[in-house]
C-alpha cells in the first residue's frame, strides 16, 4: 500500500520510494527517511493539502502526491 492509505498514527516501514521526484528523494534522504526506515503517518491538511510524517522524533511535511509515491508496509 502507499503512505496515504495508512490510517493516521500508524507505524509503517518504507518498502520503496524511488518513484519520488529526485529532489524530494534526496531531501528525505537527508532526514534519514529512505527504504527500510520506520515512519509514522501523522495526518494531513484538508483539500488534498500536504501531509506530515514523523521519523526518529523529527517531523517532515510533504505533498499528498509525493506521499502517494511512497510504498509502505505495516509493521
Amino acid at each position: 500500500m502507499v503512505l496515504t492509505e495508512v490510517p493516521r498514527g500508524k507505524r509503517v516501514v518504507i518498502k520503496q520510494c524511488s518513484q519520488l521526484h529526485p529532489l524530494i528523494y534526496r531531501r528525505l534522504n537527508d532526514f534519514g527517511i529512505n527504504e527500510g526506515k520506520e515512519i509514522f503517518y501523522k495526518g494531513k491538511m484538508p483539500f488534498g493539502g500536504p501531509c506530515f510524517i514523523a521519523c526518529k522524533s523529527q517531523k517532515v511535511s510533504i505533498r499528498h502526491c509525493d506521499a502517494q509515491c511512497i510504498e509502505v508496509e505495516a509493521l
Binding site: 491538511m45 493539502g49 511535511s61 505533498r63
Partner: protein, 660 residues
Amino acid sequence: MDIAILGNPNTGKTSLFNQLTHSYEYVGNWSGVTVEKKVGKLRAATGNLIDLPGLYTLSPLTKDEKVASTFLLEGKFDGMINIIDSSQLERNLHLTVQLLEYGKPMMIGLNMMDVAKRNGLAIHIHQLSQQLGVPIKPMIARKGKGCEQLDAEKMKAPSFHLQYDDIIEEAIQQCESQMPAKMKHTRWIALQYLEGNEVVQQYLQQYVSLTWLEAWMKDTEKNVKIKHNIALNKLIYRTRETYIEELLKENMITSLLKHKASSETIDRVVTNRILGIPIFLFVMYVMFQFTFDWLGVPISDLVDGLISGPVTSGVEAGLQWIGANAFFQSLFIDGIIAGVGGVLVFVPQIFILFLFISFIEDSGYMARVAMVMDRLLEKFGLNGKAFIPMIIGFGCNVPGIMASRSMEQEQERHLTTMLTPFMSCSARLAVYSLFTAIFFTSHQALIVLSLYVMGIVVALIVAKILSITKYKNEKSLFVIELPPYRIPYAKTLYRSTWEKGKGFVRKAGTIILAGTIVIWLLSYVGPQGFHVPIQESFMAYVGKSIAPLLSPLGFDTWQAGAALITGFLAKEMVVSTLYVLYLVPNTEALHVVIGQQYTALQSYSFMVFFLLYVPCLATVATLKNELPNTRSMLFSIALSFAIAYVLALCVYQIGRLLGF
C-alpha cells in the same frame, strides 16, 4: 584566526554565534534564516567567527546550501566548529563525517543537551570524542551554557579515516593521482565528486580534464552497480550510515523514559485540518492590531508629540541663541526635523511588527505556516515555502527576498523573488498611516488591511500567470522540516528585532537625512535663485513634469509626483518629502493641508499606486543579485509599475463613477 560554524538547520548555530561574538546577529529557527555567511568578531578578540547557512549534507540542493561547499573549497579559515543537535545525533553525524573527511582542525559542539536529556538520551561524550578524534563539548547554546569551552586553541586536525568499499577507495586513489600536487583535501574532494556534489565537481573540473573525470566517474558507477547493484552515491551514504549506527550503538544510551513532547499538542491545534488556516489568519490579525491600534499608534503619537513639541522648540531656541540665519533655521526646522522626524514617528510601529515576525520565526511556527498555506499556493504555481519570504517581506522586502534562497527549485525561487516586492513592507506603513489618519479615521485598520491583502492578491495572480508562461518548465515541489517548537528567549527576540529594526533607524539618520536636505534645498532654490516661493522651486518643476502622467489616477499635484520620485530611494521618504514640500511644522498641520488638497478616493488611489509602483532602491539591488540577469530585474520593475498604474486607474475611475 578565522573559525567557521557549520551544522544542520535549527541546531542553534546562530545562537552560538551570538554567544561567541560581540556583534548582535539575527537568529532564526527554520532552514533559510542564515542566508549568506556572516562574520563576527570573537569575544575573546582572537579572531573572526564565520556563520554559514545550515545544511544537512555538503551536496547542495538549494542556493544557500551552496555557500558552505564553496566556502570549504575557496574560503580562508583556520578551523571549524561543527554544531550538532544532540537530540538528532544520527542525522547530524552525516555532516560531521563529511567535515571530518575534509580534515581541517575541528571541534564539535554538542548542543541542546537539555532536550536530549529530557528525551531520555545519554551520550558517552569522552568515548565518542576519542573515536572521532576531535574534542567534543556539551552545551546549551540558547542559554549560553558551555559555549566558552569552544576554544579555538584546543581544536585539532582529526585523524579520521572511514574505509569505503574497495572500488571507491581505488577510485579515490586514481583521482588523487590526477590532481595537481599542491591541491589539499584530495580524499575529500574525490569523495564529494563521486557523491555528486555539484560545487566540488565544478571546482575539480578546473584542474583535471573533464573527459578523464567523466570516464572515471562512469567506470566507478558501473563497477559499483555490478558488484553491489546500487547507485554509487547510495553506497557512499550507506557506508556512512552503517558507521554512524555502530558509533551510536557504542556511545548512546536511550532510556525508555518517554517524554511527551509539548510540540505534539501544539501541532494538533495549529496544524489542525479545519482550524489551521483560521488560526494563522488570527495570528496575523493580532500582529496588525498590535502594530496599529493596541500599541503602535499610541506610542507613535507620543513620539510625534515629543518631536513636534519639545524637540522643535528646543532646536528653534538653540538656533536663535547661536544667531543662525534664516537659511539654516529653515533647513533645520522645515527640512531636517520635519522630514526625518516624520519618519522616526513610525519607528515604534516598525519595531512591533519586527518583534512579531521574529517571534513567528524563532518559535518554529513559520514552517507550519508554510505547510498550512501550501495547498493554496500550489494552485498558483508556488509552494508553501514561498509564503515565508512573503511574511518576512511584510517587515522588509530585502530579507524576504534573501529568505527565498532556501527553495529547492530554481524557477520557483526566481518567481518568489519577483513576488516579494508586492508585499507591503513596514516602510510603506508610514505612508498608509499618514493618509488613513487623515481620510479614514474610523476604518484605519480596515483600509490598511485592504492594501496588504491587495499586495498578496496581486502577487498570487502574477504568480499564476508567470508559472503558466515564463516558468512553466519546472514542477512545483514542497518538502519542509517542521522543527520542534521553542519558546523564544526574550534576549534572542530582542536581538533579532533590533537587528532588523536598526536598519530603519540607521536609514533615518543617513539616506533619509541626506535625501531630506536635498529635497529641502531643491524646494528652497529655483531657477530664479534662492528662497523662491516653493511653487517656483526646482522640486516643483520636477514634480510638475510627471504630474500629467498621474492625473488620470486622481493625484496630479506636483507634490505627489515629487514624493513618488523620492520614494524610490526609500519608501518612507514619501512622508519626509510631503512634510518638506507642504512646509508644515507638525503632523496636525500636514493633516489639514493634505485633507484640503485631496479627497478620500484620491488618497486611496495614491496608496494603491504607492503600494506597487516600484521596489525601493535597496530591493532593486537585491533583485539584481538574486535574479538570473538584469533583464529579469527590469521586467520585474516594469511589471510592478504597469500593475500599479492600471490598478490605481481602476480604483479612481470606478470610484468616481460610483460617486465617491
